[in-house]
Structure formats: structure tokens, C-alpha cells
């Protein structure tokens, strides 16, 4: 099944709202794109379009949360975390209000819209806010569980959503999600690949292909960027001696640097960061861009093999 995590988000929100009347949803004129329109159709009285005014939307969410509501505020990752960064920091983060922020169209897989809309900095921005939980689910099932977990957690949460329809790979019968707990998808002893979000499945294909070529890589799905799972990183560093991080995000400030912070402090090992290398994206079909930036299975297989030489 192919489904974009933005759509999984919209569906999960609808499901959750059935039992929880305090859930309300805000959007900034992008409901059709962020898929909060699924919620809007089901619960028109609980959906508030704030217009193209993201700063105000975050402030309104803060006020709603201060009165006991659980607002989910959605926009493109670029505008939700970039335009409204300071509103999130001061009106949501500082008072630790129970606001959930969803940033869709994250990363270069936005595609044709190009660099202005391809946000590769959202994880970095949100990581700097004290108390912010950051979730970056990798497929439909993980997103469904992440939305439930975000609701269950009392405090600000940022959830990253993708535009591109992607394969589901988690097994819904056995899948378990816990905030701050990475998931080992494949064991291995030569190196640990730590991936997050949309590229986890690409990394899975890459490490499976490398297994046949004699590279025994461990793969960790790091769906929570903050709080980062220190234990799983330290264990991987000790047991495999090197780490490669993979993210559809700038190599500055995202998963790669979060992992480096842990290894540098607790168990220094070589870490290679694969991601967007301090450059802007550009227009083009999503799959073409993922390939160009080396973030598809083929590109990752090549990069990991080169690093392992």
C-alpha cells in the first residue's frame, strides 16, 4: 500500500477525535494539502481555518491549549516551523502548552514547488526549543501511532509529514510506538545506519542489498528526533563501531547532529551524515530529486558501500 504520511495524519486525527472532544484542528489555508481537510469534513465545528497567517495560528493554538483544548495546528513545515518559529518558541514552548504542530511537505520530496517550499530545516529549528517533542514517522502505521502518542503526551509536539505517497513497510500487527524509543529494523555488526522519516524504507532496502554483498549493517528507525534515544545510539556505537545517519533534512541540526551529540559525549565513534548538504533544493519530480540527492535506496546503497570501503 502506498500512502503519504500527511494523509495518514489526517485519517489518524479523525479517528482520535471520535473519543476526544477537546481535540480541535487549525490550518492556515492549506487543509487540502496538509490533509486536515479529512478532519474538516468529519468535524466542521472543530476545524478552524486561520487563513494565511501562521504566526497568529500558533498563538490561537496556544490560547486554545491554555483553556484545555488540544489543538493540532498544521501548515507546510516551512511556514509552520520557519515563519512561526518565534511564536512556537515563546507562546507554546516557553509555557509548555499542549499544542501539536504538524509540518507537512517537509524535505525535498515536496518536488516541483521547489526550494522555497522544500523545508530541510524544520527538525533543526524545533530541536532548539526546550521541551519540544519531535516525531518523524516513516510510514502509514507509524504515523497513526505517532498521532496517538502525540495526543497522549501533555506538552508541545512537532510532527513531520511528507507529501509523497510511500510504501508501508511496518507490520501493523506487531508494530509498537513509544516516544523516544528507536526501533531496530535489522541487526548487524559492521556499521549502524540510523534513518528517520521518509528515507527509512529506502535505507532498509539499501542495507538488505548490502547484506548480500557482505556488509552486515544494523538499521535503526529513529522516529523520535527529540528526545533522542541515547541508549540505542550508545549501544550501536559500542557494538558496531561506526554510524551512518540518513535524513531528508539538512545535515546541519537534524538527526545527524543529534546522533553526533550523543556519540561525542558518551561513546566517540566515526559518524557519517547523509542528508541535504547545506544547499537548497530545486524543482523536479519527488522521486527524481530523492535520486539526485542520493536519498533513494540505490543512492544510499552506494554511499554506505563507499563509506565502508
Amino acid at each position: 500500500m502506498k500512502i503519504a504520511t500527511r494523509e495518514s495524519f489526517g485519517l489518524a486525527l479523525c479517528e482520535l477525535a471520535k473519543e476526544h472532544p477537546e481535540i480541535v484542528v487549525l490550518d492556515a489555508d492549506l487543509a487540502a494539502a496538509t490533509k486536515t481537510d479529512i478532519f474538516k469534513k468529519a468535524y466542521p465545528d472543530r476545524f478552524f481555518d486561520c487563513g494565511i497567517a501562521e504566526g497568529n495560528m500558533i498563538g490561537v493554538a496556544a490560547g486554545l491549549a491554555a483553556c484545555g483544548k488540544v489543538p493540532f495546528a498544521a501548515s507546510f513545515a516551512m511556514f509552520a516551523t520557519g515563519r512561526a518559529y518565534e511564536q512556537i518558541r515563546n507562546s507554546v514552548g516557553y509555557p509548555h502548552l499542549n499544542v501539536k504542530i504538524a509540518g507537512s511537505h517537509a524535505g525535498i520530496s515536496v518536488g516541483e514547488d521547489g526550494a522555497t517550499h522544500q523545508c530541510c530545516e524544520d527538525l533543526a529549528l524545533m530541536r532548539t526549543i526546550p521541551g519540544m517533542v519531535i516525531l518523524n514517522p516513516a510510514d502509514h502505521y507509524e504515523m497513526t501511532e505517532a498521532v496517538k502518542a502525540a495526543y497522549a503526551y501533555h506538552g508541545p509536539v512537532y510532527i513531520r509529514l511528507g507529501r509523497l505517497a510511500i510504501d508501508t513497510f511496518n507490520d501493523p500487527d506487531h508494530y509498537q510506538f513509544a516516544i523516544g524509543k528507536g526501533i531496530t529494523l535489522k541487526d548487524g555488526s559492521d556499521v549502524t545506519v540510523i534513518a528517520t522519516g521518509l528515507v527509512v524504507n529506502e535505507a532498509l532496502k539499501a542495507v538488505n542489498a548490502l547484506e548480500a554483498k557482505g556488509i552486515h549493517a544494523r538499521l535503526i528507525n529513529m522516529h523520535t528526533i527529540k528526545p533522542i534515544d541515547k541508549e540505542i545510539i550508545i549501544k550501536a556505537a559500542k557494538e558496531t563501531g561506526k554510524i551512518i545517519t540518513v535524513e531528508e533534512h539538512s545535515i546541519i541540526g537534524g538527526l545527524g547532529e543529534a546522533v553526533c551529540s550523543v556519540t561525542a559525549e558518551y561513546c566517540p565513534v566515526p559518524v557519517k551524515r547523509i542528508g541535504i548538504k547545506d544547499i537548497y533544493g530545486h524543482s523536479g519530480p519527488a522521486l527524481g530529486l530523492l535520486s539526485e540527492f542520493g536519498l533513494d535506496a540505490e543512492g544510499l546503497e552506494k554511499s554506505i558501500a563507499e563509506i565502508m570501503q
Partner: protein
């Protein structure tokens, strides 16, 4: 209010001004000018207008106040202390390490503070969210938010204004403390704010005017605001920055500066004399 009540309100406001000066003096920093211009309105809100109870500061049905011009919290803290939300001793540790009273309002630390604020333009959005929550829950509490005139230069104020009127938030009352001065000078020299009433009208607000340092006008405006249905109200309050302390009045330099020991003595002497005169 009758004559006696007006007199009582004036005394309370005078005490608020004294504690405002105490707080800023002991902090050796802070914003006395805008605190003093707003002191009468905040006193009226907490002692007459709003349905609040210091014994139950988290009552879900209470009226809310968001000090969007958060830097003027010395006056808010004085009002809250006077109302009984916390001991008045706290005033003298304003802005000190470990203090309950932060340099800008902190809802997690200070009983009675309904929203953390200080980054200008943001409080009004939170107030919109609170007013929307009341509508959603079909509750009849009202939400008051006070902005500085200079603060209205922030784009977010107008995003929020558009939202408030689109959502028909008639339970929202925006007060603009129009003291005419901001850090860099007169508001119209810095950024050409006027006509502010026409701007709010254009954004769908009912606009009222009052002298924000006159309790009769304050009462009339707040009473009128409660009768406005189907749209939010903005009250443009003409005030004197630094009101009550002679050397601070209408002086741009007293926006964000603490008095020295000598100036502090003068201020307290003046305000105490005003209080004595009211007490007859």
C-alpha cells in the same frame, strides 16, 4: 460606580503605582512608563470588571486577561498582589534570580497570569484562542487583552484582528494603551500608526475611545463593550506614559529604565502624597 467606589478605585490604582515603582526600583531595571500608563485600566479590570477569584486562579469559567504588552508586568504584578494572588513581598524580588515574578509574564510561575507574554504581537493571538475556546465550549467568560500602541506595528496584531472579527469573537475586548510613546520616540514619528481607530474598524472591530486614566470613562467603555454582539471590541485608551510620577510623565526616556535612589524617593513621595490626598 458611585463616588465612594471611584475613590476606592483611585486609591487602589495609587497603591498599584507605588508597588510598580518599588518593583522596578528593586529590580534595577524594567518598564515603568507603560506600566504607569496602564495601571488604572488594569486595576479596574481586576477589581471591578473581570470575574476572577484569587483563591481559584485556574477556574475554567473565569474571565481571562492577556497582557500582550508583557513588559508592563510590574503594574500587573502589583494588581495581582493587591488582589491577593500572592504575597506583596514578592514585588521586591521582581527580576531577581529564582523570583516568582519574571521580567515578562510567566503563566507557569505566577498565579493569576493567564498567558506568558512579552514578545510583542503574540498575546492578542493567544487571547483570540481563549475567546474561541469559550465559544467552542459555549461558556460566557470574556477575554481581555492589552496592547501597547507601538505594539500595533507588529504584523501579527493584524493577523489576529482579522481572525477575531472573522470568528465573530464578541467575547474579546482589545485595549490599546495609547500613551503615544515607544522606545525610539513618538509612535507617529517612528512608524505612522494613525489612524488606529480606522484600522481596527476596517478589520471589523467595534471601536471605542476612552481616557485610560479616568475611571468614569474606563467604566463607561467596558460597560459598553459588553453590549457589543457579533464582533470584537477594541478600546483605544488615551493615556499618559509614566502617569503619576511627575518626572516620568510623557518622557520617552522612562520607557525602560529604573529610577535611581534619589528618583525613587521622589516617586514614592509623590505617589504617597497622592494616596494621602485621596484618603483625605
Amino acid at each position: 460606580m458611585n463616588h465612594q467606589e471611584f475613590l476606592e478605585m483611585q486609591k487602589l490604582a495609587c497603591q498599584v503605582r507605588i508597588w510598580t515603582v518599588e518593583g522596578v526600583f528593586h529590580a534595577k531595571s524594567g518598564h515603568p512608563g507603560g506600566s504607569l500608563s496602564a495601571a488604572d485600566m488594569m486595576t479596574y479590570l481586576y477589581f471591578k470588571e473581570m470575574n476572577v477569584n484569587p483563591d481559584n486562579p485556574q477556574d475554567p469559567d473565569r474571565d481571562r486577561f492577556v497582557l500582550s504588552k508583557g513588559h508592563c508586568c510590574p503594574a500587573l504584578y502589583a494588581v495581582l498582589a493587591l488582589k491577593g494572588y500572592f504575597p506583596t513581598d514578592e514585588i521586591k524580588s521582581l527580576r531577581h534570580i529564582g523570583a516568582m515574578l519574571q521580567g515578562h509574564p510567566d503563566m507557569k510561575r505566577t498565579p493569576g497570569v493567564d498567558m506568558s507574554s512579552g514578545s510583542l504581537g503574540q498575546g492578542i493571538s493567544a487571547a483570540c484562542g481563549m475567546a474561541l475556546a469559550a465559544k467552542y465550549d459555549q461558556k460566557d467568560y470574556r477575554v481581555y487583552t492589552m496592547l501597547g500602541d507601538g505594539e500595533c506595528e507588529e504584523g501579527q496584531v493584524w493577523e489576529a484582528a482579522m481572525f477575531a472579527s472573522h470568528m465573530k469573537l464578541d467575547n474579546l475586548c482589545v485595549i490599546v494603551d495609547f500613551n503615544g510613546l515607544q522606545i525610539d520616540g513618538h509612535v507617529n514619528e517612528v512608524a505612522g500608526l494613525e489612524p488606529l481607530d480606522k484600522k481596527f474598524e476596517g478589520f471589523g472591530f467595534e471601536v471605542l475611545h476612552m481616557d485610560g486614566n479616568n475611571f468614569e470613562e474606563i467604566e463607561a467603555a467596558f460597560e459598553k463593550a459588553k453590549t457589543i454582539k457579533g464582533k470584537p471590541t477594541a478600546i483605544i485608551a488615551r493615556t499618559v506614559k509614566g502617569k503619576g510620577v511627575s518626572y516620568m510623565e510623557n518622557q520617552v526616556g522612562w520607557h525602560g529604565k529604573a529610577p535611581n535612589a534619589e528618583q525613587y524617593e521622589t516617586a514614592i513621595k509623590e505617589l504617597t502624597a497622592q494616596l494621602k490626598a485621596l484618603e483625605g
